[in-house]
């Protein structure tokens, strides 16, 4: 079955729209995106793992978590929730931080809006709209802690480079 994965970048608007359908009712999908124990199970690209330090899923609250490499290297992110409509959508400001959630002055940000909609009783669509402050932000988010090539092996990258 198709899951209708969408990944559209609008470079002029500095936005990326990501969308996907899941075979689960909306309440389960919502829980999987907002309960830290569950998010940790899917958010990190293997072999990295995600570890939560703080999760306060309220408006003004933050999710402070680290992507941890097999060698124990940690990359911290601080997600601040700016809007929550239970079971429907939430908005956040995403930034890289240190382990105490401190962010550098003028550090790049991305604004994320995540929307959930029922297709039927057992199928849910999630739309993620990311707005970046500048080019450097997309570059950072794309490379994040994954310079070691765990997301995309260097061979794949070479292929991509060779393709044009």
């Amino acid at each position: 079955m198709t899951n209708n994965f969408v990944f559209e970048a609008d470079m002029a608007a500095k936005t990326i729209h990501i969308s996907r359908e899941f075979n689960a009712p909306i309440d389960k999908v919502w829980k999987a995106w907002t309960d830290p124990e569950i998010i940790e199970k899917w958010i990190a690209p293997k072999p990295w793992i995600a570890q939560t330090k703080i999760m306060d899923f309220t408006v003004g609250g933050i999710w402070l978590y680290a992507m941890v490499s097999p060698e124990g290297q940690k990359h911290w992110s601080r997600i601040e929730f700016t809007e929550i409509e239970n079971g429907g959508h939430f908005s956040s400001i995403n930034m890289f931080s240190d382990e105490d959630g401190n962010t550098a002055a003028g550090a790049p940000k991305s604004f994320t809006e995540t929307k959930f909609s029922s297709i039927d009783s057992n199928r849910t669509k999630v739309d993620v709209l990311k707005t970046f402050t500048d080019e450097a932000t997309i570059k950072m988010f794309a490379q994040m802690g994954f310079r070691e090539g765990t997301i995309m092996g260097y061979s794949q990258l070479d292929e991509l480079l060779a393709a044009e």
């Binding site: 996907r20 075979n23 999987a32 570059k139 997301i151």
Partner: protein
């Protein structure tokens, strides 16, 4: 001044210039003929594109040619491809998590 690719493509005229130069290198005169704007206006846009490293110039005889720097454009595709792959993999993992939830 450091400029980024977003500044290059933020303006519709600059996007049109990029599209034209993607087809072939052009002289300032040939390029300007495609637009109603003055040559000065076009050369301002070219200046921004040059600072963003999207456009380069070469001299052939007496003529100056503008070229699109494909390498620079390709870089963007590479970041985006990485980012796309990250989300694709995440969602595949999420499918498995949802099965057991």
């Amino acid at each position: 001044m450091r400029r980024d690719i977003f500044q290059a493509i933020a303006d519709p005229t600059r996007r049109a210039i990029i599209t034209l130069l993607a087809l072939q290198a052009m002289t300032p005169h040939a390029l300007a003929e495609h637009f109603d704007s003055t040559r000065q206006a076009i050369s301002k846009h070219i200046k921004v594109l040059t600072e963003c490293e999207v456009v380069t110039q070469t001299q052939t005889g007496r003529e100056n040619y503008y070229h699109l720097n494909l390498q620079r454009m390709k870089e963007i595709d590479i970041w985006l491809e990485r980012f796309r792959k990250l989300w694709e993999d995440r969602f595949d993992q999420l499918d498995n998590v949802l099965k057991d939830l």
